[in-house]
Each structure stands twice: as C-alpha cells, then as structure tokens.
C-alpha cells in the first residue's frame, strides 16, 4: 500500500487553505534505466478532495508532475472542525485516502 499523505487545513476568514503532500514516485514513463530500457509509467491520475462529503477539488495529474507532489488550494464554505478528505488513484490502480480536520 502507498505511504500516507500529509494534509493540513487551516481556516482564515471564510477561506480554507488546504496543503497536501503526497508520497508518490511519479514516474513519467519516458525515462530509461541504465540498461536503456524504458521505465514504465507510474503516476497519480486522479485527485479528489472533499469537505464534509462535498467535493471541493478535482484534479487530473500526469507524469509531468514532480515526485512527492505538493498541492495547495483554497475553498470557501469550510468551518473549523470539518473533515477534509483527499484521495488519489494512480495508473496502476493503487489509491490512497487520508483526512485532516480544519483548524
């Protein structure tokens, strides 16, 4: 199973800032190893963030996103104590879901 994400969510005014660090190799599929063989692609494809069950962000990633990606976004309508859940799934069918409480 994939390693956990680190999620922080903070409310300022009416905006909630969410910062997510994902642990992923993000192999683009274009690189070659020392023997000249192509390294198979392995990257996050879909990211979805929900707050109290409501979708607040949907993103499509590709192999051009860096290793261990960092994602920061803001949304309105969050309240202190709400749960923010972030879920990603990659092109090999692996997925990971973690949550944080808005502080």
């Amino acid at each position: 199973m994939a390693d956990p994400m680190r999620i922080r969510a903070a409310l300022a005014g009416d905006e909630t800032t969410v910062r997510v660090l994902m642990a992923h190799i993000m192999e683009p599929g274009t690189r070659k190893d020392a023997a000249g063989a192509l390294i198979p692609a392995h990257f996050i494809q879909d990211v979805e963030a929900t707050s109290n069950g409501k979708s607040v962000l949907k993103a499509m990633f590709s192999g051009s996103v860096s290793q261990n990606p960092f994602l920061s976004f803001k949304f309105k309508g969050g309240a202190k104590g709400d749960k923010v859940v972030v879920k990603w799934s990659d092109n090999k069918g692996d997925s990971r879901s973690d949550e944080a409480t808005i502080g």
């Binding site: 660090l21 642990a23 051009s64 996103v65 960092f70």
Partner: protein, 271 residues
C-alpha cells in the same frame, strides 16, 4: 529532475536580469532568487513524508524479534529522541565505539529487533531496509529541529576521532588532488551558484553539519549525513567510503564539534 529544470530557469531569469545591473550584483541576485525558491518550497518540504513514515516505523513491531524501537538508546536514555541528534556522533560504552545516528540506529535494529547489522550496513542507499532507516533517521533528526548542536569531546576516543577527522579534512589526494578543505576551508566561496560553508569553523545556523539530513529536490531523495559525506568523496574522485566507516564518523565529529552552538535546520531542503 523536473524541479531541477525549473530551478535552472530561475537561475537563467535571475542571471539575465542581474546581468543588466552589473557583474558583482549578478551573484547576489541569483543567490536571492535561490533563497526565494527555497522559501517557496519549504512550505511543502517532502522530508515531512519521510518523517511521518519514520514515526510509524519507530513504534511498529518489526524484525525477527517483533519489537519496536521505542527502547532504543540514542545517547540520552532509552526511547529519548528529543535532542539526540545534537550530541551525535559520540562514544557509546555498550558498543565500545563512536557511533553516529545511522550506525547507532543499526545497533538498535540489531539488538532490539534482531535484524542483521552487517547486512544493514551493506544495503545500498535507498534500497530495501535502507529506505526504512532513512525514514527513521529523518524522524529522529526532526525532533531536534531548532535546537543547538553540542557534540561531545569528553571521551578520549571522541578527541582522537576529532583529530583524525581534522587530518582527513585537510588530506589532499585522488586524481584531482582535492581535500575537503579545497572547497570548505574558506569563507565566502561558491561552486557555480551554490554557497559553500566553511566547515573548519562554525559556519552558522542551519548550514553545513546543521543542515543534514535534507531532502534533495533535484533527485527526490532524502540524504543523511552518511550519504552526504559519501557523495563528497565521490565528487572528489576518491574511493567512496563504506557506510558507517570510521572515516565518515571522524569527519562527522570534526564538523559537529566545529558547529557547536549552530541551530539545526533539519530536515533541510536542498537543490
């Protein structure tokens, strides 16, 4: 790789702007641009991922003996990680030798969890069990963030190691006739746009010895001090020292004692 390219673009942009303003200014402006870039990245330092993983591993029952590392004595008593890094490497009476964080951790994994210590020492960096060790090192080291280094010189072996480290630091050899001091023996030197800390004295807070382990953006790896030293030797075209060898411990003691009082910026973020 990708971030490295982005960084290069920042370099180019900064150099172009600065070029118009004048030569001497160019270096400062580029250094500023790098500082800004680091600041932007520091908000999401991926070292935190290693730290989280390390924390889990520290408490997890693993190895042939199915034990956690929570009773591991890193020099400040069993299970104390707070400030442990700041006093390492040091002499440990139970093993009868100088150990740094990595080698001490291997001792714990051997005695508490039943791993094969010799095998752990010989695992290539970042492979198999070494991956877990890097995470553990990051977790333990992060517990000392913002505190000041105080590497001991109380034991005779520690003083001997300092002397050995000092000599190694200034020993010129290899095809380039290099020593550590060639790059790190004076103030205000740089390689391309990277400032080089002077490691013969205290280089200041959060640089040199006080900045490793660190996450390297250019290759997405977390480097411990052992790996950093190994790579210094590789860059000098020396034969690379073995993981946990006396040479690396001696150099660590030399740099650690020199950096007495420097504030730890660990885990740092590097190019």
């Amino acid at each position: 790789m990708k971030k490295a390219m982005a960084l290069r673009q920042i370099f180019v942009a900064a150099t172009l702007t600065a070029g118009v303003l004048g030569g001497a200014h160019a270096q400062d402006a580029s250094a500023d641009a790098i500082a800004k870039y680091r600041e932007m990245l520091a908000d999401g330092n991926p070292a935190e991922l290693f730290e989280m993983k390390g924390e889990e591993l520290w408490k997890q029952k693993r190895g042939p003996k199915k034990a956690s590392l929570e009773q591991c004595d890193l020099g400040k008593g069993p299970g104390v990680i707070d400030g442990a890094l700041l006093e390492l490497p040091k002499y440990f009476a139970d093993t009868g030798r100088i150990q740094d964080l990595e080698t001490r951790l291997i001792t714990c994994m051997e005695t508490l969890q039943g791993f094969n210590g010799e095998e752990l020492l010989n695992t290539s960096y970042g492979k198999d069990e070494s991956k877990n060790m890097i995470a553990l090192v990051t977790y333990i080291a992060t517990a000392s963030k913002g505190k000041r280094f105080n590497v001991s010189q109380a034991h005779e072996q520690e003083r001997n190691m300092y002397e050995v480290g000092k000599r190694l630091f200034f020993m010129r050899s290899g095809p380039h006739d290099f020593s550590c001091a060639t790059c790190h023996g004076q103030d205000g030197k740089r390689i391309r746009l990277q400032d080089l800390p002077n490691l013969t004295t205290n280089p200041g807070d959060g640089v040199g010895f006080a900045a490793w382990p660190a996450y390297r953006v250019s290759n997405g790896q977390l480097w411990t001090m052992q790996k950093r030293l190994n790579d210094c030797y590789r860059q000098q075209r020396f034969p690379e020292p073995k993981f946990g060898s006396d040479a690396t411990l001696a150099l660590s003691i030399y740099m650690g004692v020199n950096a007495k009082g420097a504030e730890s910026a660990i885990p740092a973020l590097k190019r």
